[in-house]
Symmetry: C2
Subunit: 138 residues, 2 copies
Amino acid sequence: MSDLLDRLRQRGWRMTAQRRVVAEVLDGEHVHLTADEVLARATVRLPEISRATVYNTLGELVSLGEVTEVATDGRAKRYDPNAHRPHQHLICSHCGAIRDVHPAGDPLADLPDSERFGFTVSEVEMTYRGLCPDCNHA
Amino acid sequence: MSDLLDRLRQRGWRMTAQRRVVAEVLDGEHVHLTADEVLARATVRLPEISRATVYNTLGELVSLGEVTEVATDGRAKRYDPNAHRPHQHLICSHCGAIRDVHPAGDPLADLPDSERFGFTVSEVEMTYRGLCPDCNHA
DNA sequence: TCCTACGATGGACCAAGTCCAAGTCAATAC
DNA sequence: GTATTGACTTGGACTTGGTCCATCGTAGGA
C-alpha cells in the first residue's frame, strides 16, 4: 500500500490528504469500484472531499498506469487497482458481479495481419459474460 | 434489407413508419452508429420522429438479437447491425474509428475451468485497441 | 516562514439515456 | 369500409455520470 504512495511521490506527485485517501481506498479494496463508490468511501475518512477531486485523481492514476478503467457497459466506469498484473474480466450478465480472470494464450497473436487494416494494435481487452453461480440457481 | 423487415413482422412486430425507418437506417449503413446518429439519419426521412422512439426501437432490436450494442468506452453506445456474423472490434484509441475483425481461435476455449469460478460462461467480447493509419501518421 | 504554483472546491453545466401521461394509429374483427 | 383497441409514439421533464471553471487553499522548496 505505501508502495503505491511511494511510487506516486517518486513521480513528483504532490501528496495531498485527498489524493492519499483516494489512493488508499482503491488500494485497499480488491473489487472494482465506480467513481461514486470511491467518493463515498473517501468521504468517510475525509468528509470535505469533492467529487471533482475524486474524478481528477482517478484520471491521474489512470494516466500514470496505476489503475485501469473498465467500461463494462453503458453504466458508470469502474476502476481496477490491479493494473500491474495483466488480466481480463468475467462479468455476470444478471447481477453485474466482476471477477478478474487470466485466459491462456496470447489474444494479440490471434489477430492476423490481414485483419489489422493498417492499425498499430497495442492492446486487447476481453470480457467474458455469463451467469454467476448465485444467479444461475435463482 | 426487406429480409430484416420480414423477420421483424414475422415475430409479431407492429410495423410503424418509425420502426421501419430506424431499421432501414441501421441496415443500410455498415458503420456503427450512435443513437444520436441514428436519430439524425432517421429525421431526414421522417422529421417528426422522436428521440424516445429511436431509443425504444434500438432496445427492441437488441433484445431480438438483430443488432448488438457496443459500449466502446464511456461515450455513447454504438449499434452494430452485423449481429449474425460473430466478430470482434478494433478501435482507434485516438479518433474512435471502429472496424469489425475476425480473430483466429476460440477465445472461450482459452478460459480454463479453474478460472471460471462456477460461472456459466456464454460469450466473450474482445476489443483490440491501437492507432489507425491516419492517427498514426499525424 | 514565506511564496507560489499546483491542487481542491462546489456549483453550474453537459451529454446520454430513461420515464411518463397523453395522444395516435396498425392490425384485427365485423 | 368502419369500428375498436391495445400497442406505439410523442415531447418534455428527469436522472445519471461526468466535465469545467473561477476562486480559494496548501505542499513543499528556498
